[in-house]
Assembly symmetry: C2
Homo-oligomer: 209 residues x 2
């Protein structure tokens, strides 16, 4: 009996050790996800289930946006032939062709608003000068959500590198007032790089520059 008791105590201790510390488990887990996310550029080719893609896109749409305009639009590529056609001949093609899906985060560069100080005037299109910041926040949420789900992803350049943006927008039939910000391949990682330690206290200026 004593040995049984000992085993049960040992089990309980093991379970305790497996639990996150503190009263709010979300703290270490979310910080873990932020701190261990790193760029994955090689995938095993498996498709990403639509449900997971929608979870990831929900995270993207949970980002903040200036005046809550929500300028993000997403083109999601899951067709392998289409992906190979679009990215197979470019820079680091395997990062795209081995992915299970590609999310192209785009931004609507105009929005409808009433002219300033004219509450009775009709709405008219205005430039959204913050679209690329809002869409960048959405892109970061997408990377974090993919990592939280055990998938890998990498932010690859779009805007303002127009030599990459323009042909892609044309090939996909993206309207003129929407601009691809970045191209994010997502999939089951086929590599396991250590996250970079980018902590640098010299980047912080306390109370003045």
């Amino acid at each position: 009996m004593k040995s049984h008791l000992f085993i049960v105590i040992a089990l309980a201790a093991g379970v305790l050790a497996g639990c996150k510390e503190g009263s709010n488990e979300a703290v270490p887990a979310a910080m873990d996800v932020i701190m261990t996310r790193t760029s994955i550029r090689s995938f095993n080719g498996e498709a990403v289930p639509r449900e997971q893609l929608e979870t990831i896109l929900k995270a993207g749409m949970a980002a903040p946006s200036a005046m809550n305009v929500q300028p993000w639009r997403f083109v999601v590529l899951t067709d392998k032939d289409r992906i190979a056609e679009l990215f197979g001949g470019g820079f680091r093609p395997e990062a795209y062709t081995s992915a299970g899906a590609i999310i192209i985060v785009c931004g609507q560069t105009k929005y409808m608003r009433k002219p300033w100080g004219q509450p009775d005037a009709p709405e008219e299109p205005a430039e959204n000068i913050f679209w690329y910041e809002d869409c960048s926040a959405a892109a970061e949420n997408i990377l974090l959500a993919a990592h939280a789900l055990g998938l890998g992803a990498v932010w690859t350049a779009g805007y303002p590198a127009m030599e990459r943006v323009a042909p892609l927008a044309e090939a996909l039939g993206i309207p003129e007032d929407v601009t691809p910000l970045c191209i994010i391949p997502i999939g089951v990682p086929a590599e396991n790089p250590a996250p970079k330690d980018k902590w640098n206290p010299d980047n912080i200026h306390w109370d003045k520059w």
Copy 2:
């Protein structure tokens, strides 16, 4: 002895129930943090401990950046008088003056590199066309980390609204090749708004626009 054994088993079961389900606790917790973050513009005035600010800044510096340039720089204001002086007379002053600290996320707009295709040439300064995207990803990590720690925060506009950026940069002595991207008040929330549900399937274009 049997009753002791029973108590230990009950304790072990209780501990197990307190753990998140599934093999990866980070998934629900990190998604929770992403989905429940919302803008907080009213704080109770309490200071944010330096240790928490450093945790939040670590999250910022864990963002991805184009070519791993890490262009982010941070001015952290904790002095209440200085905060009142800088923001007390502007738009929505209470969002700043009630905060425990303010993080101004800035970007170094140039970086040193060798001219393309000249590996033996000396490095020279080049424009970093991606600085505001990298710094936006850092800003989103900062908002998420603050929320994960139980604090509130809000992204308020800087770049490219130069009428806000230029006087702030001058007042803080920020160098010419560094630009304030956004101003993030952080503190203990004095309001508890429901997170917005921004899920909109119309924002998603599957396999083509």
